[in-house]
Amino acid sequence: MFRIVEARFLGPEIKLFRIEAPAIARRQKPGQFVIVRVYEAGERIPLTIADADARAGTITIIVQGVGKTTRLLNRKEAGDFVLDVVGPLGKPSEIARYGTAVVIGGGVGTAIAHPTARALKEAGNYVVVILGARSRQYVILEDEMRRISDELYVTTDDGSQGQRGLVTDALRQMLESGRRVDYVLAIGPIPMMAAVAELTRPYGIKTVVSVNPIMVDGTGMCGGCRVQVGQENKFACVDGPEFDAHLVNFRLLATRNSMYREFEQRALAEFERAARTEPPAAGHECRMLALARALESEGSRP
């Protein structure tokens, strides 16, 4: 059992958790992830380590409630427990002094990009951060990213914050203005990462993405997370999750990620129905449900 010591919402259905996991906190490096199982009948889901405090023995994960398991997790509060947390898994990010490094975080992908961006800064890079989100309320970790970057731009689909448009618009402007870019890290939804890859390809800029395939064990024993990278079959959990963006087959990745969509939608619908009819139990549950309902009526499902 792993105790949650801090839990707070950063945005609609986007929640930060600090969890006691000393062994993981001590060893983790930027780019690595954990596998979490919330409760006995739960599934195992991968979540990137957004931060860690070795002295306090805690790791931070940021969860976007998009399905049953993540919504269930998002109802947890400080003092609650998650059943299993295992890690650190995957290869750490390749940190080097590239020169000018552009780090692009799309939505909750910002949480994954943050530790790597910080490491890039510490390694002496000039770090430009581009944060993209649907609208202002979904922009997360802006202050944290500002602190570790030399320049920071925000784009929103609806223009409610920063530049109206997509992260690729901001990147394109940089490239077209003739600025030298030596390295790009893009983490976010698959179409966003694919678009960044296409944008940097003609410039020959080293571009890295962190892929998010479906995983089960996260230790290389099943190959459920296999990704086509160039001509090779890679397991994202042990060979990745970061890969050369110009070699990743994003179309296959997107198709494989849709494999259980019907099942997932049914599970979420049942969970939401149960959550609505469930009588309020403990005090914090009431607040949670109220919040969940409020968010839903806003129509703000991410």
Binding site: A23, I24, R27, R37, A41, G42, E43, R44, K68, T69, L83, D84, V85, V86, G87, P88, L89, V216, D217, T219, G220, M221, C222, G223, G224, R226, Q228, N233, V238, N249, L252, T255, R256, S258, M259, Y260, F263, E264, A267
Partner: protein, 465 residues
């Protein structure tokens, strides 16, 4: 009077292919005594030699005859810490029963059935009387991996008075016993009980620890204060075919399919893990070993319209246990022998719709002594399938080796260890089971665990490497 081998009562095929309950129902006392009567009580029993852990078969069968079932179980436990498991999953036809003298003229004694009977009897009657451990030695041993090799080493080492901590990457203890072998062959409750027994004997289990990631071998031997480490991480790395279409939705490794169903209980509605919806669909499993049989029978139980084994050699070469092949056939599994897939076919939306296969003919014997299958030109044909499971073997998982540069490995990625002492190239580190030999059997892994325990004990007592 010549007694025939007693039949194991089992669920009817039509009924059992609808459920995940155990197929074999076990012998009752009367059947067990009748079967025990068949033992000739050989003066130098070959059955014990045929058993990889040397169970004293004649002695325990004698105790069954006397009606002392608990005594029989205790006799087995002297050499085998997991009798309820081995009695169910051992390929006895190649081991104890394969060596039984009765097998020369007729059918061998049902040693596996009897072992299972006494272990089940013992469990139903309050569990085993656990042996008292030796006085504490003050030495600490870490065991990496909680599969059969790790569990058997843990049982032996704790009895010798050492402090034993088993580290497991998954959230449940048992390795292939919990993620690989299905409930209908090995109920998970039995694994849990055997693990409980080891806990009662003093073995400490830590789940969610990936050695090589959460902690390294050097840290275990250093700051974590262990005097020796036994690496028993198994052969959990799936082999793919590397043919076109392997990325299609609906194509699984057997490890993934079985882990979803067995460990994550995807076959139950009250668990969250999804798995391919087999209902009414055609399923093909590629391979001829026990893993392939487990996968194909699992697919049937998940409601597959057809479940077909595609195997590149002929029936005679299939490595699966005879009993599993028989059970699979009774349940309606189809077999395509001398057939090899060359491509997974796309339905146009990224999902599997069939396998293009080629017929094979048997050529000259290969390194394994089996006749090598060679493709028959112009024999390609298509088997329709919405789901395919690849069960053509596993290799060693490299996580431990990759962070332990001074641990020597073979070109295939297995850990090099002395066949007798199981010592590796790294002082204080022993290795055994599938991570050394490649995918083998539960009982062979247990045998390796026993040898490791003896060698580790000697090292801890003498300090001689």
């Amino acid at each position: 009077m010549k007694l025939p081998r007693q039949k194991m009562p089992e669920q009817e095929p039509e009924e059992r292919r609808q459920n995940f309950a155990e197929v074999n129902l076990g012998l009752d006392e009367a059947l067990a005594r009748r079967e025990a009567l068949r033992c000739l009580e050989c003066a130098s029993p070959r059955c014990t030699q045929g058993c990889p852990v040397g169970v004293k078969v004649r002695e325990f069968i004698q105790l069954v005859l006397e009606g002392d079932y608990l005594g029989a179980a205790a006799k087995i436990r002297e050499d085998n810490v997991l009798p309820a498991i081995t009695g169910r999953v051992c390929p006895q036809e190649h081991q104890c029963e394969g060596s039984c003298i009765l097998g020369r003229r007729g059918e061998p004694v049902g040693i596996g059935y009897l072992e299972r009977f006494v272990a089940d009897y013992e469990r139903a009657h309050g569990g085993p009387a656990l042996p008292a451990p030796a006085p504490p030695t003050g030495k600490r041993v870490a065991i990496v991996g909680s599969g059969p090799a790790g569990l058997s080493a843990a049982g032996d080492l704790v009895r010798l008075g050492h402090e034993v901590v088993v580290l497991e990457a998954l959230h449940e203890i048992g390795g292939v016993l919990v993620y690989g072998i299905p409930e209908f062959r090995l109920p998970k409750e039995i694994v849990r009980q055997e693990v409980e027994n080891l806990k009662r004997m003093g073995v400490e289990f830590r789940t969610n620890v990936v050695v090589g990631k959460t902690v390294t071998l050097d840290e275990l031997l250093g700051e974590e204060g262990f005097d020796a480490v036994f690496v028993a991480t198994g052969a959990g790395l799936p082999v793919f075919l590397n043919i076109p279409g392997e990325h299609l939705c609906g194509v699984y490794s057997a490890n993934e399919f079985l882990t979803r169903v067995n460990l994550m209980k995807a076959y139950r509605d009250d668990y969250d893990e999804p798995v391919f919806d087999c209902r009414g669909r055609d399923v093909v499993v590629i391979g001829g070993g026990n893993t392939a049989m487990d996968a194909v029978r699992t697919a049937l139980r998940l409601g597959a319209a057809t479940a077909t084994i595609v195997y590149r050699r002929s029936e005679a070469e299939m490595p699966a246990r005879l009993e599993e092949v028989k059970h699979a056939r009774e349940e309606g599994v189809r077999f395509q022998f001398l057939t090899s897939p060359v491509e997974f076919l796309d339905d146009g939306r990224g999902w599997l719709e069939g396998l293009r296969c080629v017929r094979m003919a048997l050529g000259e014997p290969d390194a394994s002594g089996r006749r090598r299958p060679v493709p028959v030109p112009g024999s390609e044909f298509v088997i329709p399938a919405r789901m395919a499971v690849i069960a053509v073997g596993n290799r060693g998982n490299p996580l431990v080796q990759s962070t332990t540069p001074d641990l020597e490995t073979t070109p295939e990625g297995y850990i090099k260890a002395d066949p007798v002492t199981l010592k590796t190239s790294k002082r204080g580190v022993f290795a055994g089971g599938d991570i050394v030999t490649g995918g083998a059997t539960v009982i062979l892994a247990m045998g390796a665990g026993r040898r490791a325990a003896r060698a580790i004990d000697e090292y801890l007592r003498t300090g001689v490497w």
